[in-house]
């Protein structure tokens, strides 16, 4: 793997009082990669996502995206540079319809200056129509066509997860951070998700995936990074990570490791 690093994290540290949620972490996501981040509950995975997307500020360290340092930018500036994410604790615009949620995700790409908005001249109509078409397509892509006009808050939990993914995709990200996308999905639904992520990979969207569903991670990912207590305890291709005693001890368990051994084949 020699592709240029898209995301480059150096010595990142975040402390809450005495507790280090992320500690001296180095991490690279290559252009076009589909990598996973795993680790026990409370290992610091979501905290890391929050740092990358700018919702919290690090105590130390640097974050580079596509060759530029982004760790002092606001969340929206980072989004502008091609970063999108989903939330482990769903954060949809619950009162607005599913399609409008996706349209908000498209915010950065819908054209139309204030003047055009006020006069309805120029690109405005065309841009809006194109956005709506694109949003419909995305909803279809994640399997939510039937609920386009339902308020996001009225969707079932699993559907809300899908909607989060659609909203994040709407931003046409270079790097997509997915925080437990398969939570709340049954094995069959997870398999469908896997296909979906593979299609995204084919579209050259780089992804960093936090997930506890090992059947998904082991089959899908190029590289897995394992965190525990905010520190990296292992890194490498699925097979190596699965066999790593430290990972088995802290995360997979002997049974788990055995269980997933057969899957990758």
């Amino acid at each position: 793997m020699s592709a240029a690093p898209l995301l480059n994290i150096k010595g990142l540290t975040l402390r809450y009082g005495g507790l280090a949620a992320v500690e001296d972490l180095d991490l690279i996501v290559a252009e076009g990669a589909l990598d996973a981040l795993i680790g026990p509950n409370g290992a610091g995975k979501t905290s890391l996502f929050n740092l990358i997307s700018g919702l919290t500020r690090q105590d130390d360290g640097e974050i580079w995206l596509g060759g530029a340092r982004i760790d002092r930018l606001s969340p929206s500036q980072r989004a502008r540079r091609g970063l999108a994410r989903t939330f482990q604790n769903l954060r949809l615009f619950t009162e607005t319809t599913a399609i409008e949620n996706v349209l908000v995700g498209m915010h950065l790409h819908v054209g139309g200056s204030l003047l055009e908005i006020l006069t309805r001249f120029g690109r405005f109509r065309q841009a809006e129509r194109a956005a709506v078409d694109a949003a419909r397509e995305l909803l279809a892509f994640v399997g939510l066509s039937s609920v386009e006009y339902a308020p996001a808050g009225s969707l079932s939990y699993g559907d809300q997860r899908r909607l989060e993914i659609a909203r994040a995709l709407a931003a046409k990200p270079k790097l997509l951070l997915l925080d437990e996308p398969a939570a709340g999905m049954n094995p069959a639904e997870t398999a469908a998700l896997r296909l979906l992520l593979e299609k995204l990979r084919a579209q050259k969207i780089s992804m960093l995936l936090v997930e506890h569903d090992m059947s998904l991670v082991m089959r899908l990912c190029d590289k897995i990074t394992v965190l525990n207590f905010g520190r990296k305890i292992a890194e490498g291709p699925p097979d190596a990570v699965r066999a790593n005693p430290a990972v088995i001890e802290a995360y997979l368990g002997v049974k788990g490791a055995a269980h997933f051994r057969g899957d990758a084949a």
Partner: protein, 238 residues
Amino acid sequence: MTDIMLEARGLTIGYGGKLVVRDVDLTVRRGEIACLIGANGAGKTTILRGLSGLLKLRAGSVRLNGEEIANRSAHAIAARGMAHAPEGRQIFAAMSVADNLRAGAYLAPSAAEIGRRRDAALTRFPRLKERLTQQAGLLSGGEQQMLAIARALMADPKLLLLDEPSMGLAPLMVEEIFSILAALKSEGRTILLVEQNANAALALSDQAYVIEAGRISLEGPARDLIDHDGVSAAYLGG
């Protein structure tokens, strides 16, 4: 005392003008684990919310331990021995972990009893013990999930409703949860489980129901459903 803990007949529930659950019959026997499986949006959560009194029933009857509880308020149902660990965890975010647990034992008869239950819960979830004074809203997702389950256990329920208890938990912890459920069962408690980890859930359960678009499409002993071709294809990823 019958050997049926929970019996729902003709359960019909909706939101606004839309009926989401129609004419569902469920039976959970004392000391057994029953599970509901189904696709996203099938209505599993809605059924649990209807049973525990969070949603009004449009029609149907629910008997808990032989007593009719349909459309009683949620707190009254809780007082009759049902605990519900709801979807989305619904922990008390600004309260400490310890206070969340105390709230779970709101109906406990004595301080000593609360202490006993708390010790039991914390042995099951050592991570929570480390975080006792932290505000619950600041826990990680999985830690919050543990808290939600522990809080439900604090009620010392006769019947426990769990909505996707393994969600967001690391593999080791998922194993732990399923062994806790097995232990609870062996203590004689009754459990109604909604679970996406259908393989593990069916392996543990006595009785299972498959929900499709708000109706029960299939029911029977859990063992039989594991081997059922349709179930295996649709829900077990097999």
